[in-house]
Symmetry: C2
Subunit: 159 residues, 2 copies
Amino acid sequence: MELTFYTDYALRVLIYAGLYRDRLCLVSEIAEHYRISRNHLMKVTNGLARGGFVKTFRGKGGGITLALPPQKIRLGAVVRHMEGPIEPVECFRAGNQCVIVGPCTLPPILKDAFDSFLSTLDGYTLADLLEGRAALVRRLSPGSANPKRKPRLAHAARR
Amino acid sequence: MELTFYTDYALRVLIYAGLYRDRLCLVSEIAEHYRISRNHLMKVTNGLARGGFVKTFRGKGGGITLALPPQKIRLGAVVRHMEGPIEPVECFRAGNQCVIVGPCTLPPILKDAFDSFLSTLDGYTLADLLEGRAALVRRLSPGSANPKRKPRLAHAARR
């Protein structure tokens, strides 16, 4: 079971914007620091803006910023908005071919389970994702976050 | 967010075997009644057998049957076994490229949420999926469960 990359990237954008709340952040800058596609991030950022999680400002000097304080951004709300309707098995989707749809009680049971999933996420906010603020900023600084480079340096240092 | 087809089909196999507990069920028969691939169902049935949910008997007169009474088969256990490790975002998987792995608190938060999902499913058993037994059997009877045919017949009857 996976979240879509859309939700995954949305959470990364919110973390970035939450770390740099004192200024507007550029999508290109966020893409570069996370080393992910700017085009993907444009779509993700538009989705976050539609959900009321970020504000976007166009033109020169523009960028994005959180629309709410981090402790007001519930992770359940972000996942619910970015994932869209949760359709865990065939009968939730258009074109269902499962023949027992109707008398089968699996759909309400799965709905109950996914409600628990989302309620648990509602118990957390973006503030919880920013707890390791200093370490997160270090990881996002250019040149410092290449995990492939780390073990080699550590090894060299021990010699 | 979706369950794999493997888990989806596993639940269908268990429902079928739960409806016909008085005899062994053939994989080819289950495939035919659900109108799904026999090859897929072979894999699914082997997975269910490895998990201890069904017993399989080979050879002529062979087939599958539930290994436990329906009220002893927890849906959380089935989903946990069939889905395998839950890896909702990139950093859970091999080859992770996300640069904030380590200080980021998203992994334990997502783990908590998926634990809630599975705990809720553990509150249900296969017996809950068999509640509409008579209607389920009707739907699985050949010729009676084609949803495409139904509206036409209903329409004809109204004339």
